[in-house]
């Protein structure tokens, strides 16, 4: 008896497909549907109806939370964090490439923030940066660098910088780990040959190291962009988006809409906006990584 190979394939793939459908696609589709409904826990849920683009209009015209300010905050949060995470992570990876005594212990210590939960980090740093009882102010005052304590989280001009500093502290190990792995894959002979040709260390960095690990750089940077955008824990624990919305980003506002306003409709609409933006990022990422495969190295 001949078996139908197509049927067999479908039969073995079906469980995995159903599982993925249930845990990934169903919530996504449900979320998108809610974004177009007046789904608010304060109203009778039997009155939930599709309301077109009302949720999106409400977000864009919200007099209490200026949408464009939240977008600008989100961009600052992503790109300033990303820039310093990358530069410091790269430097760290370069330093850790050379063997030295105690490198294992040292790199373990350096990488440990990466293992902590974002919310826990936020709570710890909220106390370090506390304007009244915080360690940061105490150290700066003892060093006579400042006369008055700084309201790291209560002064809107410092609040964003403070949460970004914490995010940088958290994200550096990721780049260090990834870039270190890539660096270790560069053949030693390339450097030796360059050295014989008289290339100095700066030239070796820009003509050998960076081009060689370009693929890793592109993919990690784009991945991190997505992750940082979806990483509200630190901000939520440290300032809750305040003072006066100075640190409110798309992801924190989405949580606020659901946990404080009980407005799942607008919260989901916020989620859809985030998803569209991330989708754009992903397309750029795929283009960039595709281009790399044909060209360089």
């Amino acid at each position: 008896m001949r078996r139908n190979p197509m049927g067999f394939l479908i039969a073995i793939m079906l469980p995995a497909f159903l599982f993925l459908g249930l845990v990934i696609f169903f919530p996504v589709i449900k979320g998108i549907l809610i974004a177009f409904q007046n789904y608010n826990l304060n109203n009778d849920l039997s009155l939930v109806r599709f309301n077109g683009l009302d949720n999106f209009k409400a977000i864009l015209t919200d007099p209490n939370f200026n949408f464009w300010r939240i977008i600008i905050n989100t961009l600052i949060w992503i790109y300033v964090s990303l820039f310093f995470q990358f530069v410091l992570g790269f430097i760290l990876a370069l330093l850790l490439r050379e063997p030295f005594r105690g490198r294992g212990v040292y790199s373990g210590l350096v990488f440990y923030p990466w293992a902590l939960s974002g919310f826990a980090i936020g709570l710890i740093w909220a106390w370090i940066f506390n304007g009244q009882f915080g360690m940061a102010n105490d150290i700066l005052m003892r060093l006579h660098l400042i006369q008055q304590p700084i309201g790291f989280l209560s002064d809107p001009s410092f609040a964003m910088i403070s949460v970004i500093i914490v995010n940088i502290w958290y994200g550096v190990p990721f780049f260090a780990i990834m870039l270190l792995a890539a660096l270790q894959s560069i053949p030693k002979e390339l450097f030796e040959a360059a050295q014989i040709d008289g290339a100095n260390s700066v030239k070796r960095l820009f003509y050998i190291t960076i081009p060689y690990i370009k693929a890793t750089i592109v993919s990690t940077v784009l991945l991190r962009t997505i992750w940082i955008m979806n990483f509200p824990e630190i901000i939520y624990a440290m300032t809750g988006g305040g003072p006066n919305n100075a640190t409110n980003i798309l992801a924190t506002q989405m949580i606020n809409k659901i946990l404080k306003f009980y407005d799942y409709g607008q919260g989901s609409a916020m989620g859809v906006i985030i998803m569209v933006l991330l989708f754009a990022c992903a397309i750029i990422y795929l283009r960039a990584s595709g281009a790399k495969e044909e060209g360089a190295v």
Partner: protein, 416 residues
């Protein structure tokens, strides 16, 4: 052999089922969870079960952060649940979605309903003047004062009025010595504080059912504006500027460290402060009154309700009744740090006879001075109001917006 086994199974099943069926299990979801509180509740449940053979109470205790969500989820999907802990901020949505049983018939026949404190009665009947829950814990505010710090700063009298409180705070504030007056609340539910200060300047609210609503509010009333101005002045001259980002923990820290010797808080602060500070070093007094000679106080609560689809409502009610008796409720509140719901508890329970709790009793029994006003929790404008108020208030304190502009905006928010 197979047949024999089958018959054996059948026999076991037939004999066994009725034996098991005699024990009725009721599911109880708590939401204000903490390890100590869950352990205490389990102890109480054991006590209940030993005196009520045939009833088993299955306690469900999700982690605090997810508990409200879990409650909503369980109710909306009609999961087996017979008793649910309901909070002031969830009761409205549960009733709206027809998930809570109207307890009126039980309530009427319950003897101890008559000895509930007036605040507890109001809490029980929060929605539609109907008892959907029996409150278990009441939270109202009083003024905590570090007498030792005040004496160090040459202050020997305790404030009776808001003006006196503000003046004392400003007088002792000296940033060079890291000494301030008031443990300001800048975030999460900070509106409760400005509401208290500003409303105490307006006598008319006494007639209204709630502090503000879509029908009526006093945000732009000159007396209210005056109260808000006093409150803002307190921040500028009598509180740490960092307090714009202070929540509950920072307030407690400011008080215990002595940086801010005046704190307005709920009774759950007492066990916490007692762990860190000699109880003799501070006193708790009723909140100061405004120029009107009175103050409006909000109240928070948690209570127990029965899901509308519960199949064990009678058993559930029996357990709720047991938990809500003066003795059991006082025991529960004593170890949790809330005010008991039965007025008799303040007379019979040693702990609540203690001096730190007398301020709360005085507030609850002096209606000429302390008027309890619920927040407009049934209004669709209510959820999210906290976030809007917080951001607006912060912008006023930071000098980024004018007080009058913000007050006009609030009036519009509520009336339009």
């Amino acid at each position: 052999m197979k047949r024999f086994l089958l018959v054996l199974c059948l026999v076991v099943a037939l004999v066994g089922i009725p034996a098991f069926a005699e024990t009725k299990t009721i599911n109880f979801l708590e939401v204000m969870t903490s390890p100590e509180r869950t352990a205490m509740l389990k102890g109480m449940i054991d006590e209940y079960e030993s005196s009520h053979p045939g009833v088993k109470v299955n306690l469900i205790s999700p982690p605090y952060e997810q508990a409200d969500q879990k409650a909503t989820l369980m109710l909306n999907s009609n999961q087996p649940l017979d008793i649910i802990e309901v909070r002031d901020n969830t009761i409205k949505q549960f009733v709206n979605n027809k998930k809570l049983t109207n307890l009126a018939k039980y309530y009427r026949s319950w003897k101890e309903a008559k000895t509930l404190t007036p605040v507890s009665v109001a809490a029980a009947k929060t929605v539609d003047n109907t008892p959907y829950i029996i409150p278990q814990c009441i939270f109202i505010k009083a003024l905590f004062v570090r007498k030792d710090i005040l004496e160090k700063n040459g202050v020997t009298t305790l404030p009776n009025t808001i003006a006196e409180l503000i003046n004392t705070c400003i007088k002792i504030t000296n940033p060079a010595k890291n000494q301030y007056g008031f443990a300001w609340r800048g975030k999460s539910s900070e509106m409760k504080f400005s509401d208290y200060f500003a409303s105490a300047y307006v006598k008319d609210i006494k007639k209204d059912a709630v502090l503000y609503s879509e029908e009526k509010n006093y945000f732009t009333d000159p007396r209210y504006v005056q109260g808000m101005k006093a409150y803002v002045e307190l921040f500028k001259k009598g509180a740490p500027q960092d307090a714009i980002n202070w929540g509950f923990n920072e307030q407690i820290n400011g008080f215990v460290s002595g940086i801010t010797p005046f704190l307005i808080q709920d009774p759950d602060a007492i066990p916490l402060i007692d762990k860190m500070l000699d109880p003799e070093k501070y006193v708790v007094i009723p909140v100061p009154v405004g120029p009107t000679g009175m103050a409006y106080l909000d109240y928070g609560f948690t209570g127990l309700g029965i899901p509308s689809y519960s199949k064990n409502a009678a058993q559930a009610w029996d357990f709720i009744k047991w938990m809500s008796s003066a003795e059991k409720n006082a025991y529960f509140c004593e170890h949790y740090g809330a005010l008991p719901v039965q007025s008799t508890a303040f007379k019979t329970n040693k702990y609540f006879q203690g001096k730190h709790y007398q301020a709360f009793l005085k507030e609850m029994t002096t209606p000429s001075k302390y008027v309890f006003k619920p927040f407009p929790q049934s209004s669709p404008k209510w959820p999210g109001w906290g976030s809007i108020h917080e951001a607006d208030m912060q912008s006023v304190l930071l000098g980024q917006a004018k007080l009058e502009t913000v007050l006009a905006k609030w009036k519009d928010y509520w009336t339009k």
